[in-house]
Amino acid sequence: MLIPISLLVFLVIISFRSFVKDLYLDAGLATKAKNVETENLEWLNRFGKTATFLKNDIKLIKRNKRARSTVMVSVLFLFYGLLFFTGAVETYEGPVWRIFAAIFVTGGFLLSFGQFVPSWDSSYYPLMMSQNIRYKEYLSSKWWLMVIATLISTVLASGYLYYGWDVYLAIIVGAIYNIGVNSHVVLWAGAYVKTPIDLTSNKKAFGDKQAFNAKTLLLSLPKMALPMILYAIGHYAYSPYAGYAVVAVAGVAGFAFKNAVFSKIEKIYRTEKYKTIWAYKQKK
């Protein structure tokens, strides 16, 4: 018991360090954009705008306590799976709980950061709303950030291979579902969240009614319950692998609807715009 845990901790620390080093260098992003330039200009233009926001979001996370805590949450959630896969908690031993764990292990950042889009930008929302910005570009930068974080979590979670291929397969399926479906659900729900965030204070990051109230918990139900139900259907109708397949297919299908979902979210953003600006103006 002690060996696997310490091994996992070790692995996570090593890989987390290297990813932080690579990810946070803006220079890395800039050169990437430059390399693409010669290949296809039109694509670069689109990537360029998204990269503009992406660079900003990385600075947002690096330089603000409240935003940094979402990275901590995702690291904590990485270990959450231990409760399930080690059999430490008896009630979690049913096969369906594996998917539940996998969603959390790979989606810590997605869930904790995504639920407050666009509140992260609340202190300068009027700027974003009057600048030369297309909603789609703004949204897609947040989406990419969540996707990248999910992929990194999935790689870090490879420590769970210790508990068998089957466990890691569940985690990969969870990641696919997170990227394909939950990333959309989170952005969608976020469009209705109008709580301004004071970036500089960390007081309210945990256990605060803003962060974990009944409403946000309720909103997270479809994110958790749906993949569990999908898995259960496949698992009990045929086999565990069929269960994984059903969840993965749902994830891929969600991914295919990305444009449609983004248009829908964009519409919500637009109709909620005045209310959101007004709500962000009300100081805590």
């Binding site: 705008k49 503009t52 947002l60 929302y125 009027p126 600048q131 030369n132 970036l199 962000y280």
Partner: protein, 231 residues
């Protein structure tokens, strides 16, 4: 350039803005004066589509601002600190705005070099985030950011407030130079009658949301305004 049609804004029964018709022509500088609560910021917010009018609409270059976003590429504004990104340094902020407006680093640098005087060595190369700068310096950064990317309409709300006298004089020079360009329309609001009469060639007085005076600047303007506010 900008046309206001039957614009009203009511908050819980209180009318804060009520303008039948107002046309602001291309080029030149337009000054908005009035006491607190006269509706100056409300009007600018409506122009930037940050609030929803109770009735009526505003057109910017023939585009209804609440229906189409095309005006955003030709318009820029600095209203208050919500137009600043606190966790960026001034340079990062300028480049960010530049990228949004299709300007590369060299373009932005070229523009910034014209404002060295105005910055007075307190903005660039500070290694400080904008949120850690003084109110006056934040304002300088916000005003210059609003000039990035060749906007045709520039909206500045209370640009003179919080600036020291030297910077106010430099800002007046900047606004005069901008409005000398026939392609650029500058909209400025202020509490300071002297500043406004000095830089604006047309001055509109708002009172309780209504236009009570609309005058082309002349020798008599300052006196006329002072008499109006001394009633």
């Amino acid at each position: 350039m900008i046309t206001i049609h039957n614009l009203t804004k009511r908050y819980t029964g209180n009318t804060v803005l009520n303008i039948d018709h107002l046309e602001i022509h291309k080029g030149g500088s337009f000054g908005l004066v009035g006491n607190n609560g006269a509706g100056k910021t409300t009007l600018f917010s409506a122009l930037l589509d940050l609030i929803q009018p109770t009735s009526g609409y505003i057109e910017n270059k023939g585009i209804k601002v609440n229906e189409n976003e095309e005006w955003k590429s030709i318009t820029s504004a600095f209203i208050d600190e919500t137009f600043l990104i606190g966790y960026l340094t001034a340079e990062e902020y300028f480049y960010f705005i530049g990228e949004l407006r299709g300007q590369n680093k060299a373009d932005v640098d070229a523009l910034l070099s014209q404002f060295e005087d105005f910055f007075h060595g307190e903005i660039l190369g500070q290694k400080k985030y904008l949120r850690d700068l003084s109110k006056g310096n934040q304002k300088k950064a916000g005003i210059v950011a609003a000039l990035i990317g060749n906007p045709e309409v520039i909206v500045l709300d209370e640009p003179f407030a919080n600036l020291d006298p030297t910077t106010q004089i430099r800002l007046k020079k900047i606004i005069k130079e901008l409005s000398a360009d026939p392609e650029i329309t500058v909209l400025v609001s202020s509490h300071d009658l002297m500043h406004v009469t000095e830089v604006c060639d047309r001055i509109v007085v708002l009172d309780k949301g209504e236009v009570v005076k609309d005058i082309a600047r002349s020798e008599e303007t300052l006196k006329e305004l002072e008499e109006h506010f001394n009633k």
